[in-house]
Amino acid sequence: MAAVDQPTFDELVERHGPLVFRVCRAVLRDEHLGSDASQETFVKLWRRLADGADPRHVGGWLRRVAVSTSLDLARRRRAREFATTLDPADEVGEVRDASACGPLERTSLAELERGLERAVRELPEGQRTVFLLRHEGGLPLCEIAAALDVALPTVKTQFARACLKLQRRLAPFDPDAEQDPR
């Protein structure tokens, strides 16, 4: 093992720490667990640097490891709802109509967040994982696809369908305005 340059490591922590933390918290849905998993991710980074990895090319690796570390931790804690299985054939099911939040212009951000939190729990596992990694974790869909080893079009479809379901829960769209498929 080679000596790790401490300032270089600190700089990587400063640059990637917030995103890694958000990714871990998004998967684990818990601040403390997210904190634990994100720190574990950086301990793995330290070992990798000690093995001679180039610190200039660790960003993508860090985000993938953040996802896998969080998913491992979730599995270890028997959090079955975080399974990564994605079903490309998963159709957009009907979501129960929202307790109407009222007109969206008058809905506060806090109300929207609470509504989203409830609605996310009703998503199928695959859609929920992808949505949370993108929405809360801030990971681009291409990186989510790489981290979960799933095709990008599948991830895009899952994410878009999750968004439509959540929007419907936040504010059911007026069906009169629907148009026939073009």
Binding site: F21, L109, G138, F159, Q167
Partner: protein
């Protein structure tokens, strides 16, 4: 593609996940479809507001906890222990080498000085005397450098 497909594209657009052809297709559809334009406005007020929310900072004390975890990482401690043992072994070999060098140097040096006139001849008639090997010792600077190296 139907309106449902375009609404999926609208959701992807919220998160900046559309490629250029998808953006063009969506734009063309929105120009022609009032219902999807209305939906886009709704989406922007709902999920769109949440999507634009500023991300949270790291929790307080996170970086300090990480430093402590890295410092106490078993892999790092194993690495340190390994380097310590290498240092000890290197010191031992160095000590043996120095001792041997001093002994050889003493054996090869001519006995030119005889301060008391009582040269202890060694090796019979060779006329050389054995120099007393100095005790193996490191200077203060050497010790400091060795300690610094072992610490890291």
């Amino acid at each position: 593609m139907n309106c449902r497909d375009y609404r999926e594209l609208l959701a992807l657009r919220l998160y900046d996940e559309l490629d250029a052809p998808e953006t063009d297709r969506l734009q063309a559809h929105l120009e022609a479809c009032a219902a999807c334009r209305a939906y886009a406005a709704e989406l922007d007020l709902g999920l769109g507001r949440l999507a634009r929310e500023a991300p949270d900072d790291l929790p307080a004390g996170w970086a300090e906890q990480l430093r402590s975890r890295v410092a106490n990482d078993p892999a790092r401690r194993r690495s340190r222990a390994w380097r310590t043992w290498i240092g000890v072994a290197a010191g031992f070999v160095l000590g043996l080498g120095c001792s041997s060098w001093w002994r050889d140097a003493g054996e090869q040096a001519p006995a030119t000085d005889a301060p008391t006139g009582r040269v202890a001849a060694v090796g019979g008639e060779t006329g050389f005397r054995r120099a007393t090997p100095p005790p193996l010792a490191l200077s203060g600077g050497d010790l400091d450098r060795l300690q610094t190296w072992l610490r890291h």
